[in-house]
Amino acid sequence: MKNIILVLIILIGTKLSIAESLEEKGYNIAKLSYESGRGFTDMISDQLMILIDPKGNKVTREISAKSLENLDPDDGDKTITYFETPKDVEGTVMLSHTHINEDDDQWLYLPALTRVKRISSSNKSGSFMGSEVAFEDFSAGDYRKYKWKYIGEEVYEGDLCYVLESYPIYENSGYTRRVGLTDELLRARKIDFYDRKGELLKTVFFENYNLYEDKIWMADSMKVENHQNKNATIFQWQNRKLNIGLDKKDFEKSSLMRLAD
């Protein structure tokens, strides 16, 4: 119901042509879209990542993750990632305190070393575990990371979608431009990414949307097609649970240290 009201607001805004520039309109849609996915407090899920090379060979990686919503409008969420396969990395844990337009803080627990290492790097544009997904793609819908522009409307798979163009603010981003489709339920459906030389690099498809807690749409599948190297990655979320009352202390460096002791 909340979504429908939002859409109405947008539609009325469009029809009445209230003095709103294309940039503001794009920004507003992106903001509403982002906000419609918020309010989960915390979340757990199992994730399956399938890497597919141009010949169709597949490699599968399994991970599970916990995240903690950060309500601070100027900062990002906290996540813990547990690596399960391949067997040699089983037990490796990564804690991230994400930030909006700065490098994230990351700690990694390596069981073979039985130590926690703090890693600082400008890796947001880097590949996640050799996949076609970059770290920065996981928060592709965060309106605070981009400058926006409303381009128009387009029908995608039978649904009317807003076409939004966005430009990354983070200076080490691997992209210069994105063109995305957001449907009337404010769900991102598809985003084209353009690389540093302005050429189409990849397309991310958000699929298998499920309604959680009767109010939050979440894509439980994300398919990435790289147009340049012809590789693809499929990311699937399973057993996703929201609002389960995780302990905030788990998301601090000290709790990761406990694993090392």
């Binding site: 040699d88 130590r115 890693i119 590949s127 575990m129 540093r196 190297n229």
Partner: protein
């Protein structure tokens, strides 16, 4: 009806329908020539090999796993001092950033964006090796220099050991069948911008992308620079030789109309405009020119002697039809021997010339007489001085025939003793040694880095995540240690270097941990960590497969000759066979491995082609002369020029490359032409019951002059080819020119003497 009558009837028919002949010839020529638009832009070194060539397949397999091997490299060298100066690093930093804009680029690596790890206890910070260039102090710069010298993946890859030269390597992910023009144009534009901004620093463009692009740029430059000058030379030459504007015009038309449809056919066949093809029009031109000169000079002489224009050309056609056919045929057959090689560019050139030879013949006996009959032509053709000289020469030879034979035989025997010094080899590093921009960069890169080429080896474990096995990484190390001791290898980089570096950094940066850890799980976790911590375009995807079952070694090779490379490759394979188990590899692959093997195998093919062309031509000559005796005599003037030609080659070099063989195959069909003309006239003289000395005088009178003229045309054609920027064309042009001029001397001096001694008497 005998053959001569048939030709006469044919000639009369042509002249009776001259307008129809001219129009239908022109229409046909325009139609066929329109294929020129389909001539494909050369796809660089890839177009130089056949798709199924084993060493090219190796490259393709490697690319399927690890991405395209092609690299565009900027070479940065300050005029004074090394690269650890603020403005040099600033240039590298800015150019590195700008390089991400390069069309088709997938990663950019330089000393500034090299991912450098700093360790402070359990805090690991990974960042660009050089940041905030503006704030660097003198002390910072010298610290950076020392740090850089210790980094394996910097030295010899993005910086020379002497620290004097820096490189920016841009990996290109080229779509299939796309030439390098876009990225190269981009790079040259950047070079201009940065050299303007930093006038004291040299910026050059190198790498396999530039190497590949050279094939295209050289072909284009040759075509636009050589052809106009050559055409001008031919116009002057024909006028000087024929002394008739209209006749020169006819010759020019026949020449152009032979060249255009052969290039058109090349287009219809889907050939590539590779540098060797540049030679085709020049060769076709010289053949057609020789035809035209033979036809026109006799027709003009006839007119001088009072014949009507039509009778003069009919008579000329009667005399020339068979020799022109034979010379076109032998030229085509000779050059077709190139098809025995395995370089498509040369086969395509050969087949284009063969088509051109056919057009040259057809037009010389159809269009040429028709035009001659139609256009107003006055003959003020004089050959008295030349004829006088030839008469003198003929009597001189008659007088001293034995001495001529003995002296030339002695020279031949001496030169023959030099030939065993020659050996077959090739040096792909020299292909573009006539391109100043390429040489300028090469002279900086080669002494500092060995070459700007890479070789690769895909080492497989055949199990997912197998590369995290310490046994595997130690084996890579062992292989690397063996490789760097080889003369052909400048440096090697493997994923085991990455692991050793990580192990060190994860242990407080202590040097004693610069080794492969024994724990497989630990190595796997290091890789995981590394993959997490590098930005866009810096990952290990071009070094390992997604399932981590195999990894790619990067080997920077020194320039080596074909023999050295084949030897190196054998040794590598031997080492692999004896030491690499249980891991697997197909061996080393890359441009520095492929090109030498291409030429080695090509050499063997060409030798077979040579055998084919030579025997075929000798057979044709013998058959056409209908005489075993003359067939055998004809072998001598056709073999001696090659012996002497290669004897002269020993003055310059002992290395016989594929280009020298190509030169033999091109010139064999041309050398034999003069012999055919001379012998057929001698036979005719004998059948006219002339005495031996009169028969020689007859030959000199009727073919001496045309032979000299044709040889001069061929000689100038090949001299022009030596102006090519493509080194191989330069060699072919030079070699052919030498052979043609020797053949002329032999035909004028040795052949008559031989005929006087061994020929039939009337």
């Amino acid at each position: 009806m005998n053959f001569e009558n048939r030709i006469e009837n044919f000639a009369i028919t042509i002249l009776n329908h001259r307008i129809k002949v001219i129009f239908s010839a022109i229409i046909l020529i325009i139609l066929i020539s329109s294929g020129i638009r389909f001539l494909e832009t050369p796809s660089g070194y890839r177009g130089f090999v056949q798709d199924d060539f084993k060493y090219y397949q190796d490259i393709l397999e490697l690319e399927e796993k690890y991405g395209n091997i092609d690299v565009l490299t900027y070479v940065i060298k300050p005029n004074k001092g090394d690269i650890f100066q603020k403005d040099v690093l600033k240039l590298i930093d800015e150019l590195t950033e700008a390089s991400w804009q390069t069309p088709y680029s997938s990663r950019v690596s330089s000393i500034t964006n090299h991912q450098f790890t700093e360790v402070d206890g359990d805090d690991i910070s990974i960042d660009n090796f050089i940041i905030n260039v503006d704030e660097l102090t003198k002390e910072n710069l010298s610290n950076l220099r020392e740090l850089a010298k210790k980094e394996d993946s910097i030295v010899n890859f993005v910086m020379s050991e002497s620290t004097n030269v820096g490189l920016i390597n841009i990996n290109l992910e080229m779509p299939e069948d796309i030439a390098f023009k876009k990225p190269i144009d981009f790079a040259w534009n950047q070079k201009m911008i940065f050299e303007k901004k930093y006038p004291d620093i040299f910026v050059g463009v190198a790498g396999s992308a530039q190497f590949s692009h050279n094939f295209q740029s050289v072909a284009e430059a040759d075509a636009s620079k050589m052809y106009p000058g050559f055409l001008l030379l031919i116009i002057i030459l024909t006028y000087l030789l024929l002394r008739s504007v209209m006749s020169s015009l006819i010759a020019l038309l026949v020449i152009i109309f032979s060249i255009l449809p052969s290039l058109g056919s090349a287009g219809w066949f889907g050939f590539e405009a590779q540098p060797p093809l540049i030679a085709a029009p020049i060769i076709i031109l010289t053949i057609s020119l020789a035809h035209a000169i033979h036809m026109l000079s006799i027709a003009l002489t006839n007119m001088n002697e009072g014949m009507s224009k039509n009778d003069a050309i009919i008579d000329s056609l009667k005399i020339n039809f068979t020799p022109i056919f034979l010379t076109s045929f032998t030229t085509g057959v000779g050059i077709a021997g190139l098809n025995f090689g395995n370089i498509p560019a040369y086969s395509e050139m050969a087949n284009t010339v063969a088509v051109g030879a056919a057009f040259g013949f057809i037009l010389s006996v159809t269009l040429l007489p028709a035009l001659f009959s139609l256009l107003p032509i006055k003959s003020n053709y004089k050959e008295s001085t030349m004829l006088f000289f030839l008469k003198k020469l003929a009597s001189l030879i008659y007088k001293f025939k034995e001495r001529f034979v003995i002296i030339i035989s002695l020279i031949c025997i001496y030169v023959f003793s030099l030939l065993p010094n020659l050996y077959f080899d090739d040096y792909f590093g020299s292909y573009f040694d006539r391109v100043p921009e390429w040489v300028e960069v090469k002279d900086i890169v080669d002494p500092e880095f060995g070459s700007s080429f890479f070789t690769f080896a895909d080492i497989e474990t055949n199990e997912p995540n197998g590369i995290t096995n310490p046994e595997y990484l130690n084996k890579l190390d062992e292989f690397e240690n063996w490789l760097v001791q080889q003369e052909s290898v400048a440096d090697v980089s493997t994923v085991s270097d990455v692991v050793k570096n990580l192990h060190k950094n994860m242990n407080g940066g202590s040097e004693e941990y610069y080794k492969i850890p024994e724990n497989k799980a630990l190595i796997a976790q290091y890789f995981l960590m590394y993959e997490f911590s590098v930005p866009y375009g810096m990952d290990l995807k071009n070094q390992m497969t997604a399932d981590k079952s195999s990894s790619r070694m990067l080997i920077r090779t020194n320039y080596s000759t074909a023999i050295e490379t084949v030897e190196f490759n054998k040794e590598v394979n031997l080492w692999i066979e004896n030491n690499l188990k249980p891991f697997k590899t197909k061996g080393v692959a890359g441009i520095p491995i492929m090109m030498p093997h291409l030429f080695t195998e090509n050499t063997n093919g060409l030798l077979l082609g040579l055998l084919f062309s030579f025997s075929f031509i000798i057979l044709v000559v013998g058959l056409s002369l209908r005489s075993l005796r003359y067939g055998i005599i004809s072998v001598i003037p056709n073999v001696v020029p090659f012996i002497l030609g290669f004897g002269i080659l020993t003055l310059f070099t002992d290395m016989v490359t594929a280009s020298h063989q190509v030169a033999v195959l091109i010139s064999i069909g041309l050398v034999v032409d003069a012999t055919i003309h001379f012998l057929s006239k001698y036979q005719k003289a004998i059948s006219m019951k002339l005495e031996a000395d009169e028969a020689i005088q007859y030959c000199f009178k009727y073919v001496g002059y045309p032979i000299i003229i044709a040889s001069i045309c061929l000689f100038s054609g090949f001299i022009f080819l030596t102006q090519s920027l493509f080194f191989n064309n330069f060699v072919i042009g030079g070699m052919c020119a030498i052979i043609i001029i020797i053949a002329l001397l032999i035909d004028l001096l040795l052949l008559p003497a031989l005929l006087l001694i061994f020929g039939k008497k009337a």
